[in-house]
Subunit: 211 residues, 2 copies
DNA sequence: TAGATTGTTAATCGATTAACAATC
DNA sequence: TAGATTGTTAATCGATTAACAATC
């Protein structure tokens, strides 16, 4: 493909555009200009137009953007127009909470939760079966799982990540507080809660907020 | 203060430096050069030196950086050298999981969990009392709470955020999927899980990873 | 057609990397 | 002292903003 590489900064803004457009759509608004959208979000109109034009011309001069159309197009770009199959590894508090979270409406379907505690074998959360770790490889292959959510203790994550990579996982959503080392074709998206909290801490520690 | 404003990009990297230095320290290593650290992390030596020099000269020519000293200094910059008092609002799965998470070792002490379900009144999680929402204002003021963790449904977050702002909260750690509108002196740090998952989805949706 | 607003090029701003003199 | 490595200035690269011609 002759596509220009899209910058990380742009990709990071896409879900936010998607969210705002979804709300605007729910409010029954049919069209919007970059100027109006700029007012609602904290982004310049110029940036909105630049961002969108990385993917094509979705607007029309003199009119603006059709909300429904733009919403759907960004959904396609983000890949949320199709269903991604997902498993959660680690049935602790966090895994449990994520299993109860309704990601289905955004196109992410949780197929199983993997745990090591034998007493949980055969149980289920919100209809999602809890399975044992020795069934992992077979399940991932058979069910064609794309995404694994890692909510295990730090000490066990790397071993499990390796197993998942070996059986062809496409992406790891990593909640453990360490950087995973995987092949280039496996996507890693980190949620480092402690890092987030520390940034918060920095911002209240001296009056950096008001400079 | 005549301090130069530190960029967001730098602040975002600080917790990661802190984490790596903590590990290096645990391995009993006493000193490290920007070049060596650059090898371990995915950052140029030049960037490490630039980042650190935003806050002062922590190293020594010909020697490098003393690991323990640098670790402590970054801890001070991040404000994790002192204890921050915190409450969790929303006793659902997520609030529950966060209450069980040991943030204490990073300097964040959870003082209470607030919920609306009367049947939880008087119970506790890991020794942290569950309290009712009508006790919120008094508790925040009396206990001098700095940070509120928001794990409530979208529809209720804004009202609660307003109440917290009114009684002098300093920071909101927001897990709800919306952007909060608060005064400039209140820090908001967002954890938008759906956004994170969508970025992941984007990256596996077409072979953007290998361009 | 006239007005509005895009798509896109050019200008600016900021962040990263490279280079090197200062110095331990 | 010689070698190593910082702190810092200069060069490069990339991202954001401004401007405007194209066009609906």
């Amino acid at each position: 493909m002759e596509e220009r590489e899209i910058s990380k900064a742009v990709i990071k803004r896409l879900p936010r555009y998607y969210r705002y457009l979804g709300e605007i759509l729910n409010n029954g608004i049919e069209r919007i200009s970059s100027g109006e959208l700029s007012g609602k979000m904290q982004v310049t109109a110029s940036q909105i137009r630049q961002d969108l034009n990385n993917f094509g011309g979705f607007g029309q001069q003199g009119y603006g953007y059709n909300v429904k159309y733009l919403y759907d197009e960004i959904g396609k770009i983000l890949g949320v127009n199709r269903v991604h199959s997902m498993i959660i590894i680690g049935g602790g508090n966090f895994g449990h909470a994520l299993a109860n979270y309704d990601f289905e409406k955004n196109g992410f379907s949780t197929k199983a939760i993997f745990d090591i505690r034998p007493e949980l074998n055969g149980t289920s959360i919100r209809g999602i079966p809890v399975m044992m770790m020795d069934e992992l490889e077979e399940f991932v292959k058979k069910e064609d799982i794309e995404i694994a959510v890692l909510t295990l203790p730090k000490s066990k994550v790397e071993e499990v990540a390796d197993r998942l990579v070996k059986c062809g996982i496409r992406a790891l959503w990593n909640f453990a507080h360490l950087d995973l080392d995987v092949p280039d074709d496996v996507v890693v998206e980190n949620v480092h809660l402690v890092d987030s909290l520390m940034q918060l801490s920095y911002r209240i520690s001296e009056d950096n907020s008001e400079e």
